[in-house]
C-alpha cells in the first residue's frame, strides 16, 4: 500500500511544486492571501475563492482526463455546459424542483456524451472532428432551449448548488472534490483505469487482448458529458441564469490545459485525475496572481500561452528522448541512438 501512495506522490510532485510556487507568488503580491475567516456561517478567504472558482474547470477535468487517456479529446464540453445549464434553468422555470432539474441536466449531458461516444467508437470518426460537431451546433441548441434570452431563475435549491454552502463550505468545492475522489477511487480500485490506459496506448491491441474498447470508449465520453452537465448546472446556478452564448465559453480549452498541466500526455496512456485537478487549481491560482497583483487581466492569456509552451517542451517526446540519452551516456557513451521507441512511454501510434 505504501509503495502505491509513494508512487502517486512521485507522480504529482511536479504539479505540487508548481502549485506551491504559484501560491507563494500569490502570498508575495497579497500578504493576506492565506487568511481564512468564518463569517455569517460561511468561510471566506482568497484560498477558498481559488478553490471555488476552479470548480467548473476541475469538474470538466475529471471527464476530460479519462477522454484524453484514451487518446481522444472532447471539444464539446463548453457547449454541453451551455445546453445543460439551459435545460436546468428551463426545467426550474417550468415549475419543477431543483432535483428534477439537476437530473434532467445530467441526463441531457449523458445524451450528448453518448452522441460523441457513438461518433468516436462506432462510426470511428477522429475525436477532434466528432466532438467539433457538437461544439459548433451545441450553442445553437442551447439558444433553442432558452429561446434566445438569458433564462433567469430564483429557485433556492438550484441556486444553492452554485452559490450556497454546506457546513460553511461553498457547495461547488464539495462537489468537485467529491467527484474527483469518486472517479479516482473507481478507476484505481478497479481495473477500469488500466483498461482505459490500454485503449489509449494501442486500441487495436487492447481489443485483441479482449477489452471491449467500443463500450468503454462510449462510457468515457458519457462520463465527460455528465461532468460537463454538472459543471453547466453550477455555472448557471452561480449567476442564477442560463446564458447560452457565454456559459462555459472556452472552458473546454481550460480543461484540456489543466489536463496537460497535470502531466497527462495528449497521446493517451497513463493518466492521473489528481494531477489534472491540481492542474485546474494551478490555472485558477495563476488567474488569482494576475488579479491580486493588479496586472492588467489582458496578460492572462499570454501567461497561459507561455505555460503551454513550457509544458510542450517538457512533454515533447524528442526532449524526453534527449534526457533519456543523457542519462544513459554514463555506462555506454558510444551507444547508438536507437529509434525513438526507447523514449519512455511517449511512443505514439
Amino acid at each position: 500500500m505504501s509503495s502505491t501512495t509513494q508512487s502517486i506522490y512521485k507522480r504529482i510532485l511536479p504539479q505540487l511544486i508548481i502549485l506551491a510556487a504559484v501560491l507563494v507568488l500569490n502570498f508575495l503580491v497579497f500578504p493576506d492571501f492565506f487568511s481564512i475567516e468564518f463569517k455569517n456561517g460561511r468561510i471566506f478567504g482568497n484560498l477558498i475563492d481559488v478553490l471555488n472558482r476552479c470548480a467548473p474547470t476541475a469538474i470538466l477535468c475529471v471527464g476530460m482526463t479519462l477522454v484524453i487517456a484514451t487518446k481522444g479529446i472532447d471539444l464539446s464540453v463548453g457547449a454541453v455546459m451551455a445546453i445543460t445549464g439551459a435545460t436546468a434553468a428551463s426545467l426550474v422555470v417550468d415549475g419543477h424542483g431543483w432535483f428534477t432539474a439537476l437530473i434532467g441536466a445530467v441526463a441531457v449531458g449523458a445524451l450528448c456524451g453518448i452522441w460523441n461516444g457513438f461518433l468516436v467508437a462506432v462510426l470511428r470518426i477522429q475525436p477532434i472532428v466528432a466532438t467539433l460537431v457538437l461544439m459548433v451546433a451545441g450553442r445553437g441548441i442551447a439558444q433553442l432551449i432558452t429561446e434566445g434570452t438569458i433564462l433567469t431563475f430564483h429557485d433556492e435549491g438550484l441556486v444553492r448548488l452554485g452559490a450556497g454552502t454546506i457546513i460553511g463550505i461553498p457547495t461547488p468545492i464539495l462537489i468537485w472534490i467529491t467527484l474527483g475522489a469518486i472517479a479516482t477511487f473507481i478507476v484505481r480500485k478497479t481495473s477500469l483505469g488500466m483498461l482505459i490506459e490500454a485503449i489509449g496506448i494501442n486500441e487495436a491491441s487492447s481489443r485483441l487482448a479482449g477489452i471491449n474498447s467500443r463500450t468503454l470508449l462510449v462510457c468515457v465520453y458519457l462520463i465527460s458529458g455528465m461532468c460537463a452537465a454538472i459543471a453547466g448546472v453550477i455555472v448557471a446556478a452561480d449567476i442564477k441564469g442560463a446564458d447560452a452564448n457565454n456559459a462555459g465559453l472556452w472552458l473546454e480549452l481550460d480543461a484540456i490545459l489543466a489536463v496537460v498541466i497535470g502531466g497527462n500526455s495528449l497521446l493517451g496512456g497513463r493518466f492521473s485525475i489528481i494531477a489534472s485537478l491540481l492542474g485546474a487549481m494551478i490555472i485558477q491560482s495563476v488567474n488569482s496572481v494576475i488579479l491580486l497583483s493588479g496586472m492588467p487581466p489582458e496578460f492572462n492569456l499570454v501567461i497561459k500561452a507561455l505555460l503551454i509552451l513550457a509544458i510542450l517542451v517538457i512533454q515533447s517526446p524528442k526532449i524526453a528522448h534527449l534526457r533519456y540519452m543523457l542519462r544513459a551516456t554514463d555506462p555506454l557513451p558510444r551507444d547508438k541512438p536507437k529509434p525513438p521507441s526507447v523514449a519512455p512511454q511517449e511512443k505514439s501510434q
Binding site: 479529446i73 461518433l119 462510426l123 470511428r124 470518426i125 477522429q126 477532434i128 472532428v129 466528432a130 467539433l132 460537431v133 457538437l134 461544439m135 459548433v136 451546433a137 451545441g138 450553442r139 445553437g140 441548441i141 439558444q143 433553442l144 434566445g148 487495436a204 447560452a244 480549452l253 484540456i256 490545459l257 496537460v260 495528449l266 497521446l267 492588467p296 489582458e298 496578460f299 492572462n300 492569456l301 499570454v302 501567461i303 497561459k304 500561452a305 507561455l306 503551454i308 509552451l309 510542450l312 517542451v313 512533454q315 515533447s316 517526446p317 524528442k318 526532449i319 505514439s348
Partner: protein, 330 residues
Amino acid sequence: MIRSTHLPLIATLVTFVLAYAICASQYPAIFSTRVVANLLTDNAFLGIVAVGMTYVILSGGIDLSVGSVIAFSGVFIAVILRDTSIHPLFAFGLVLAITTAFGAAMGGAIHYLEMPPFIVTLAGMFLARGASYVLSTESVPITHEFYDFLRDIYWKAPSGGRFKLIGGIMLLTFVAGALVAHRTKFGQNIYALGGGEQAAKLMGVPLAATTIKIYAVSGGLAGLAGIVFSLYTSAGYSLATVGVELDAIAAVVIGGTLLTGGYGFVAGTFFGVLIMGLIQTFIVFDGTLSSWWTKIVIGALLFAFILLQKGLFWLTKTRRKTTIGSDVQS
C-alpha cells in the same frame, strides 16, 4: 467514371446548387448580383483564412490560432496607424511578415517538438489573442484616407451589385491557392504529408520544411484575412473574430476535404464558404428565423459531410479488400 476521391467535392457542389435552388424558389431576389456581391464581400476574410486551413487540414494538421491572428492583425494595423504616420501599405507588409513568422514558428514547434498541432496552435491562439489584448482592449477606429481609397474600389455590375476589392482578393487567393496545391511541388508535398508521414518521409518529402511552410502560409493568410477584415470593418478590435477558426474548419470539411488529411480540393473549400454564407443570407432574407439556426444547420452539414467521407472510406476499403481477397485487419 467518377473517382471516389472526387465524390465529396461533387457532393459539396450538389449541396451548393440545391441550397441555392431552395433559396431561389422562396426568394427569387437571391439571384440578383447585389446578393452575390455581398456574399463575396461578407465572407472575404473567412474565405482567405479557409484557404490556409485547407492546406493545414490536407497535411493532416489543424490550426486553431487563425481567429486570434486575424484579430491581432486588425488591432496591430489600427494601433500602428493611430500612433505612427507610416503608410498603410507598409503596415500591411509588417503584419504579413509578423503573422507568417508566427505561423512558421508554430510549424517548427509542431515538427521539432513532435507535439500534436492541436495543442501547439492552441498555445498560438492564446498568445495571439493575448497580444491583441495587450495592444488594446478597446475597438480602435481606422481613419486613413488610403482606407477610404481602397474601399471605394469596386466593379459595379449592370444590375447594381458592387463587387468590392476584398471579394476580389478572396477570389485571387482561392485561384492562387488552388494552383499552388495542385500544380507545384510544395502542393504535392502537402498531399503526401497528409497521406502518411512515414510514407512521405520515405518518398523524400522534406518534412521539416513542408510542415513549417504549411503553417507559415496559414499564418500569413490569416494576416491577410486580418487586413481584409480591417478594411471590412474599418476598425481593429481584440475581441473580434472569436471562433472563426471553427468556421474555417467547418468550411473546409463541408468543402469535402478529408479531416484525416491527404484528400480534398481548395475549390471545394470555396463552395464550403459560400454554402455557409448562403445559410446566413437565407436567414436574413427570411427574417423570422433566429440566428442560432445558422449554428445548428452548419453543425448538421458538418456531420453529414463527415458521415459521407466515412462511408466513402469504408466503401473503398471493402472494395479493395474484396479485390485483394485477404482479410487485412485495420
